[in-house]
């Protein structure tokens, strides 16, 4: 089997004392694209943030293994160095730090001391990827996400994904706020990442992203759990019929977290 494996086992997560995730199980292998879908308020973004180690989220039970190592015991930077990546729904703005300096620090953090990427090579790679994502070249010298439009931020997350080249990436609502042209560009970038080694977990509540990126597996989250899994045909059916049929099938009245 090529690539890495991310195993999420019985994951329970709280935020400010309220339990959001109530036992999530998922396995993503290298080479696979998974989509996690579900209405708002069902715990999808919490799953992404908890795996990466967002300071607000507390894991109360379960484990997340990357090639057998429990990432929950690692610092956030160690998780990234181990090969994880999260494209965030709301990336931070950091004044005074240029996009390009930030990106180079990030790339070098995964390389040995003395083996840092050369400036020329870095610029060449970044330029090529900016072309793919149709990003204005002056964005490299702008401060990280500062004053970026919603669409620019999303493209910038994918630019980071493409230059950092992680083993497993989680994309948290990377499609929200994008118009159809921007969506196509972002999808093109993500599809370029596809190979036998790269695994990806795409979180979305719209089917439309999946028109451009075909997932191998689709999971539906409700009430802080994965309640249904299937192939790409599941996404199609959700697009046509919505989520009600799943709720009916499983006897769920309110799909959001607060409900029992």
């Amino acid at each position: 089997m090529a690539g890495s494996t991310l195993e999420i086992k019985d994951l329970h997560v709280e935020i400010e004392g309220q339990e959001i995730l109530k036992g999530v199980n998922l396995t993503i292998n290298g080479g696979e694209f998974h989509a996690v879908m579900g209405p708002n308020g069902t715990g999808k973004s919490t799953l992404a943030s908890a795996i990466m180690g967002h300071p607000k989220y507390e894991v109360t039970q379960g484990e997340v293994l990357l090639d057998g190592e429990n990432v929950l015991e690692m610092e956030v930077d160690e998780r990234a160095q181990a090969g994880l990546f999260l494209a965030m729904q709301y990336p931070s703005e950091i004044s005074g730090v240029t996009n390009s300096d930030f990106l180079r620090s990030a790339i070098n953090s995964r390389r040995e001391e003395g083996d840092e990427i050369s400036l020329m090579k870095f610029i060449k790679e970044m330029d090529a990827k900016m072309d793919t994502l149709e990003i204005d070249k002056n964005m490299a010298q702008r401060y990280l996400n500062e004053g970026f439009s919603g669409g620019e931020k999303k493209r910038n997350e994918i630019l980071q994904l493409m230059t950092i080249q992680p083993d497993i990436a989680i994309l948290d609502e990377i499609d929200s706020g994008l118009d159809i042209d921007a969506l196509k560009v972002v999808a093109k970038g993500i599809n370029e990442m596809r190979d036998d080694a790269f695994g990806c977990l795409i979180i979305t509540h719209y089917q439309r992203l999946l028109d451009y990126i075909t997932p191998d597996k689709v999971h539906v989250m409700m009430q802080g759990r994965v309640v249904k899994s299937g192939g790409p045909e599941l996404a199609k059916r959700l697009e046509e019929e919505g989520y009600d049929w799943i709720k009916e099938e499983l006897g769920i009245e309110d799909e959001t977290i607060g409900s029992k």
Binding site: D77, S95, G96
Partner: protein, 435 residues
């Protein structure tokens, strides 16, 4: 409880000191009268910082320094402040209280530019010094510290730029407090005549982490009509030196004074930077960068006072507070009646890196005229854990992420500093201080 200050230096000492340096009579008199005033004047009262118990009197007053034959013989921590690639010809190094190295471009000398230590200036250019020494800028009797300064002034520099002379290369001065207990009671006097321009850069350096002493610095910059003075400083006194620094600018008609101050002292510091925009259409621009660490307490007051019509004042100060350090940033824009169409703008930002660090930004606008524009922005905050998380999620270790955030926070000020050499020095010193 106020500490009673009894100076170990009396009239006799001051008289002998003045005689030793063959000072003109007026200087001796100025010293003696200041000494008397220092006994009765109240202590300086920087807003929101109590300095009654700080050490401003316990030090060695008169310490010679060895002459420097070649810059190559300087220790590396001093050489760090020289620009290895593009070192200016115009360089003065003061070692303790001795002018140990002085060099000025010959052409500038021929044009009448004066760049010399204060003792030499008092002998060779007594009338010029007399005209500007604590007359228009800082007054002897502002408070006890200015009086003490006037009484015991023991070192410094005099810069004089004649009418119409434009100096391209910066003038650089290194004030090196080599002796652990030496006190730099330093006077810097910069006079730029009409239509002249000069860039002056200074560094204060000491290494007394334990031994206690004090520095009492008065700087006066006089920019005559249509003169331009760009004044850069990287202050780098060690923990043992308690610092009082008063930098004052007087701008004539169409004159411009730019201050770029890297306030990187490690000890307790009171810094007062006041620019008087006296002439119409004059401009004052102050940029200050501060990094506080350890247990140091600091107070920074930047004040631009508008008297002239259509005068412009800009204050920008950014400070990072680490460990248990604390700092007060007072920004004052004052527009006097009659200074119509003036513009006073200021921005102060403080970033605290630990829970024990303290920062306070106080923007003050005092406006006594209707037809003006003014604006201020101030913020005090801590490093955002979500920002750190975002950067770390790309594999960047926490320390490196903090370093990037600090540099990023200070960059808007550092990048705007007018002198490349100051910018580089400052970046280096910041790098050392943030770890």
């Amino acid at each position: 409880m106020a500490v009673e200050v009894s100076l170990p230096y009396d009239k006799q000492y001051v008289t002998e000191y003045s005689n030793k340096h063959s000072e003109p009579e007026w200087m001796k008199e100025l010293r003696l009268s200041a000494l008397e005033k220092s006994e009765t004047l109240p202590m300086a009262k920087p807003d929101k910082t109590n300095i009654e118990k700080w050490n401003f009197t316990d030090f060695n007053h008169d310490v010679e320094g060895e002459v420097i034959d070649s810059l190559d013989n300087l220790p590396s921590e001093i050489q760090d402040f020289l620009d290895q690639e593009n070192q200016t010809e115009n360089l003065l190094i003061q070692r303790n209280h001795t002018a140990a190295f002085t060099q000025l471009n010959k052409e500038l000398e021929d044009k009448g530019v004066i760049f010399t230590d204060i003792h030499t200036a008092l002998r060779d250019h007594a009338d010029l010094v007399k005209e500007y020494y604590m007359t228009e800028g800082v007054a002897v009797d502002e408070h006890r510290l200015t009086a003490l300064h006037a009484a015991l002034m023991n070192s410094g520099v005099f810069v004089y730029v004649p009418k119409g002379v434009q100096i391209e290369q910066p003038l650089q001065v290194i004030f090196w407090q080599e002796d652990d207990r030496a006190s730099l009671i330093n006077h810097v006097l910069v006079v730029a005549e009409e239509n002249s321009s000069v860039t002056y850069v200074e560094n204060y350096i000491s290494h007394n982490t334990e031994a206690q002493t004090s520095a009492n610095i008065v700087t006066e910059v006089i920019a005559k009509d249509n003169a331009k003075v760009s004044f850069g400083a990287v202050d780098n006194f060690a923990h043992g030196t308690t610092v009082y620094s008063n930098r004052r600018g007087i701008a004539g008609r169409d004159a411009r004074i730019e201050w770029a101050l890297g306030q990187m002292n490690e000890g307790n510091t009171v810094s007062e930077n006041i620019t008087h925009l006296v002439g119409d259409n004059s401009e004052g621009d102050t940029k200050t960068v501060v990094v506080g660490r350890g247990d140091q307490k600091q107070n920074f007051t930047t004040n631009i006072r508008h008297f002239g019509k259509e005068s412009d004042g800009y204050i920008l100060q950014h400070g990072v507070m680490k460990d248990k350090s604390s700092a007060i940033f007072n920004g004052v824009g004052k527009i006097d009646h009659g200074a119509t169409k003036s513009n006073a703008v200021q921005e102060s930002r403080v970033l605290m890196l630990s829970k024990d660090a303290r920062g306070d930004a106080n923007p003050i606008l005092l406006i006594d005229e209707d037809d003006v524009t003014a604006g201020h922005a101030a913020s005090v905050g801590r490093v955002d854990p979500v920002q750190l998380y975002y950067m770390m999620s790309r594999g960047i270790p926490k320390k490196e992420a903090e370093r990037l955030i600090i540099h990023g926070f200070l960059a808007p000020v550092v990048n705007q500093l007018p002198v490349e050499a100051v910018k580089n020095q400052l970046t280096q010193v910041i790098e050392r201080k943030v770890y």
